[in-house]
Point group: C2
Chain length 244, copies 2
Amino acid sequence: MSTAHGARARARIEVTAAIKDEARRQLAAQGAARLSLRAVARELGMVSSALYRYFPSRDDLLTALIIDAYDSLGERAEAAHESAATDPFRRWIAVCEAVRGWALDHPHEYALIYGSPVPGYTAPDTTVPSAARVGLLLLGIARDAHHGSGLAGPALPSELRPEAERMAADLAPDLPPEVVSALVAAWAQLYGLVGFELFGQFHRVVEDRARFFRHAVGQLARGVGLVPGSAEDAAPGGGVLPGE
Amino acid sequence: MSTAHGARARARIEVTAAIKDEARRQLAAQGAARLSLRAVARELGMVSSALYRYFPSRDDLLTALIIDAYDSLGERAEAAHESAATDPFRRWIAVCEAVRGWALDHPHEYALIYGSPVPGYTAPDTTVPSAARVGLLLLGIARDAHHGSGLAGPALPSELRPEAERMAADLAPDLPPEVVSALVAAWAQLYGLVGFELFGQFHRVVEDRARFFRHAVGQLARGVGLVPGSAEDAAPGGGVLPGE
DNA sequence: ACACAAACGAGAGCACCGCTCTTGCTATGC
DNA sequence: GCATAGCAAGAGCGGTGCTCTCGTTTGTGT
């Protein structure tokens, strides 16, 4: 069913990809607000109206780029997660640094997905699965650590307990509510650190940003109960969890 | 020297203010990218070219709005700081909640200053003093607490020590480097929390956002060594610091 | 008091934008 | 073999930021 319909369908796929590629080029070069359908069409040797056969509007093209950006970030984070040591703390650091690295490599795409949303535009639900990948990764690290050596977040004030329990039930019923709550906060705070660096807020404030970031996300990890050199890592070479 | 030059100068000030007011209205209604010089001029009953007598370009108008936004946020944070209890921990919470409140009240202006910068546009140094106000406020709280009951941040890894000492020398030589480092991180993380809420990343994740935020910034405070109910607050009615 | 220069508002115009509609052409499916 | 659906192209609409020119108004120095 995929390539069944011959030349026409294949051409459509190719043209669609070419449009997205050129759009991504312009996005990377000048940012989202300067992405112009007409310029994309011009560069591709077509007339602007022809482009509307493939994307019904500029916003739809942007949405496609947003999903691609989330996936690109997600893949990089997942790759970092897999090639890191099994120690949850180190994996946490690796994932966070992958996020930062991707953001520095693709500033305009990062701005597109984590900066101010394009005005008057709200991302459709299509983006949700791609957008969730990094969050799920962090959640998975916490889960591994919890099932390994146990995890204890900071004490939960009684006024937040219902909300924390609700979040835990939604996101990770096998984790303590205080860990889930701390995790969500750390998730947001991670993007605060990345955003401030990327958008120039650290200008003349933080210079050695890589080291600063590494330390800050390490503290973030501690906030959810992760500590360096936990049980799993003490057993060298082992991929299998001792406990459980 | 200010109003000395009579009617013309006064008219200029009034027109400039009217332009900014109308621009702010459009900004609040539709966001920065949809702010149109022509629409502002139209609403003011002038022709678009006349507007260039007051702002040399759209970016310059945006810059003026950015500075105003920073100042508006700064004023609100400072007001919250002053009307809060003297206990540094409570002051910290109050300032953070003021930032969140302002952001929720002025989402597009928040996006303008802390979201992705307008593409191809970098804020001039004119904005720096206004932009620094909230940061300085948080710094002041930490300083008060430190001079009161002392403050101890988390241990600093040796690789970050030079950078932390440099930051401390620049920002607050009277504070321990680990506190300054934690403070800068908390500052960025605060905006991560606000941004995620404002830009919809907490959609279907965090529901009771006010309580969640309050707890999260409380944890942020602990990260720089602030704890609830510290020394100054234990002595009732006292504005004078006991130690030092 | 008068002249000169600076500031100003209005208008026309340039190049660009997103998007729509119509017009022919061509490949696909019955 | 032919109707149909997908396609590229062009013209055009209303909008944008910005520039330039043109009279007019206003403030100032002599």
